[in-house]
């Protein structure tokens, strides 16, 4: 039997402005609806579950401060991903660059901490973390720009090496980054001058505002500067960029280095904030990978990263607490995060294409009954 309908994907010339907001919003709601089906099927109340998630993620003091605290890191890894993605450079190794940020930040905090005041020390730690993250992506950036080697593969594989590096610096006796006073594998604390205080009784650190400023600054760079213009031209049409005399190679390297630096910065923020040392459990948390979801949810729009970062963090914090306040299994929260990514990517199709269903009128369909 022939299907009497056809789905037509018509590429949009320009995305209508309202869709830029509607599609991500619809993606989240679609994911929640999808999750509701699972909740119903397993005997949990979707309304009750989501109410709980919202309360524990956004509408309580601990909830909102924990959400903003987590978003501090996820906004950085989110911009890191989005900044590269918008130029079709798929840096999916933000996770590994974040580990290097921890190492670079911890190095500065330990080695230089006793010599400098907090006001200088904290920026230095953040800068060293960012530099370490950039250094980690330098080789993938270089070979991508010169040889066209897939940065997807190289950045991903380097993440595994970075994870081994974290284990190495913590579990090797005598390591510079390991606490020398105990035979237990513990990170060595950075100097007091390299540590910030959290706000009141919360787990939120002033680094949150650094993340906001960075997000705003990069948005401005992309929209208003010549460098941003080059990025836009190259991502729209590499060939046009070439004829316009834009050095795509150099821009590629710079964009990837900045992307790596942003993930590294996220790692260094953990050093000046909650950790104060290298915590080997970082390799189980997936903050770098979560940045990819945050970027996808914002459709790589740097202006929206803050919103999607906070939204996604809230879902994670609220999802974590589901187990505490209800009997909902942890897997529901994890599934919702995955569903959001899936629907956010699926939603791209609606944004890029005008999709409509048309009746097929060709003669053959009438002649061939089922």
């Amino acid at each position: 039997m022939r299907i009497p309908f056809r789905v037509v994907f018509e590429q949009r010339g320009e995305t209508p402005r309202r869709l830029s907001f509607l599609v991500p919003l619809a993606s989240v709601f679609a994911a929640l609806f999808f999750g509701a089906l699972f909740l119903l099927a397993t005997g949990y109340s979707p309304i009750g579950t989501y109410t709980n998630m919202f309360r524990d993620g956004f509408a309580s003091f601990n909830g909102i401060t924990d959400t903003l605290a987590l978003s501090t890191v996820l906004i950085c890894t989110g911009i890191s991903a989005a900044f590269a993605f918008q130029m079709n450079l798929y840096n999916i190794g933000g996770e590994g660059q974040l580990y290097l940020g921890l190492i670079g930040g911890a190095w500065a905090g330990i080695a230089l901490g006793d010599h400098l005041p907090t006001l200088i020390m904290v920026p230095v730690v953040l800068l060293c973390g960012a530099l370490a993250g950039a250094a980690w992506i330098f080789v993938p950036a270089f070979v991508r720009s010169r040889l066209g080697t897939s940065e997807i593969v190289s950045t991903l594989l380097l993440t595994y090496i970075a994870a081994s590096l974290i284990k190495h610096v913590i579990y090797t006796p005598g390591s510079f980054f390991r606490n020398p006073n105990t035979s237990f594998p513990q990170g060595r604390m950075v100097a007091d001058s390299a540590s910030l205080e959290s706000f009141g009784s919360s787990r939120l650190y002033p680094t949150f505002f650094v993340a906001l400023i960075i997000a705003g600054a990069l948005y401005w760079v992309v929209k208003r500067t010549e460098f941003g213009y080059r990025i836009n031209v190259i991502s729209d049409s590499p060939r046009a960029a070439h004829y316009a005399g834009i050095n795509a190679r150099r821009t590629t390297v710079w964009v990837m280095l900045i992307s790596g630096a942003l993930s590294g910065l996220a790692g260094a923020m953990l050093i000046v904030g909650p950790y104060g040392k290298i915590e080997p459990s970082i390799i189980t948390l997936g903050y770098g990978y979560a940045g990819i979801v945050v970027a996808a949810l914002a459709r790589n729009n740097l202006g929206l990263i803050i919103v999607s970062g906070i939204l996604f963090s809230g879902l994670r914090v609220g999802g974590n607490n589901l187990q505490v306040t209800t009997d909902t299994p942890i897997h529901i929260g994890v599934m919702l995060q995955g569903a959001i990514l899936l629907f956010a990517l699926g939603g791209e199709a609606f944004r890029r294409y005008h999709i409509h269903v048309v009746r097929t009128h060709d003669a053959s369909s009438k002649k061939a009954p089922a």
Partner: protein, 391 residues
């Protein structure tokens, strides 16, 4: 009675500075003095207990063993214990534990080393609750050891730790391994070069050498607790080097499967999973957390939070040996039973001297038993271990 409780100060001083415990404050005594209720009609309605798991209860390893203890606790006291699974360490774990405390849970067990600092912060904010950190050591929360408390006395008073002398069962499993190895070449798939793992390797080696003085144990570090592929590779490399019995400090059965494929024997860990490779299975050191969970819950219900650093053993049943495989003959089983009895009555200890390290230096004098603090910070390999304790 056995000295299960060690005073925190002694542990802090000695473990941090590598000294023996000193002075009057160090000798260990039971200071919990929990009024343990045995009355069947005891009221546990005030007790709200929760357990924080690093993994899932059906992992057939570390978390599974804790789950067995929690199930026993529920049955004994007729209460329901809240389980929170797959809890990340660090900030997110802290938020979850804080959520539990805010919900009124007044006894919280956390079953991973990495929960220590987050749990201490939550304990400080919730003095009404009782917090128990498995595998922890309070001195790690002090500034010297990389924690946030200036002195040991600043560590929240409502935080306790619990762990046990797995080395006792490790030693016994070493006897089974030594007796089952025709070549005397044993292998050990080990996670991380930390005192807990090093202690286990040494005890296993000493056990094997008690029946075969020439036995050697080659160590392969995987740098992961849970990594079936890496564990398999390590196991295969040890087998290729000639080992005919493999032991492990890992959370999966990969070592056993690799040994089985080569016709070698296997000493497991954590759980009795003989069915995974029945032909290879010898035995395994395992945990029984039930007595500790039950006694702690009863103490809390009676108004006392046990906050000493509890170090269980075979004597109190926290550490046990799993069932024997068919390759462990009756004579060996009898020998193991005899040693187990001696360990339990205190007449024998796995690290009873003389013990020499890899370089031939005497680390425990003949007839002496090392202090618990030396055991907890062990960083050398005994003679007969092939490999480096530095990883």
């Amino acid at each position: 009675m056995r000295k299960n409780h060690i005073k925190g100060f002694a542990l802090a001083t000695a473990a941090v500075f590598g000294l023996l415990a000193c002075g009057g404050s160090s000798s260990s005594t039971d200071t919990t003095a929990a009024p343990v209720t045995t009355d069947a009609a005891a009221d546990y309605s005030m007790l709200k207990a929760a357990v924080v798991y690093i993994g899932v209860p059906d992992d057939k390893g570390w978390t599974y063993q804790h789950e067995q203890g929690i199930v026993a606790l529920e049955a004994e006291l007729g209460i329901e214990v809240k389980r929170v699974e797959n809890v990340p360490e660090g900030d997110e774990g802290e938020a979850i534990m804080e959520g539990l405390a805010a919900e009124g849970y007044n006894l919280i067990f956390a079953t991973s080393f990495g929960y220590g600092a987050p749990m201490a912060r939550v304990a400080a904010k919730h003095p009404e609750g009782c917090f128990e950190w498995a595998t922890g050591a309070k001195f790690l929360l002090t500034k010297d050891a990389g924690g946030e408390y200036a002195t040991f006395g600043d560590v929240p008073a409502n935080l306790g730790t619990y762990f046990g002398a797995a080395e006792e069962a490790r030693y016994l499993s070493g006897i089974a391994a030594g007796a089952a190895s025709p070549t005397g070449k044993l292998g050990y798939v080990a996670a991380f070069p930390i005192p807990e793992v090093i202690r286990g390797i040494n005890a296993f080696t000493l056990g094997a050498q008690s029946v075969n003085p020439d036995a050697t144990v080659q160590v392969s570090w995987t740098k992961t607790w849970f990594g079936p592929d890496t564990e398999k590779e390590s196991a295969e490399s040890l087998l290729a080097a000639g080992a005919d019995v493999l032991a492990m400090h890992q959370d999966t059965t990969a070592t056993g499967l690799a040994a089985d494929a080569k016709g070698a024997k296997w000493v497991g860990y954590n759980s009795d999973v003989a069915e995974a490779a029945p032909n290879a299975w010898l035995t395994a050191p395992t945990w029984n957390w039930a007595p500790y969970y039950i006694q702690t819950a009863k103490a809390v219900a009676g108004g006392t939070c046990p906050t000493d650093e509890y170090y269980g053993s075979m004597a109190d049943g926290m550490v046990t040996l799993a069932s024997f495989g068919t390759s462990v003959d009756a004579d060996t089983q009898a020998l193991i039973a005899e040693k187990a009895a001696a360990i339990i009555d205190g007449s024998f200890a796995p690290f009873q001297g003389p013990v020499t390290d890899q370089d031939g230096k005497e680390v425990v004098a003949a007839g002496a038993k090392p202090e618990l603090l030396d055991l907890l910070g062990m960083s050398y390999f005994v003679k007969g271990v092939i490999g480096s304790p530095k990883g």
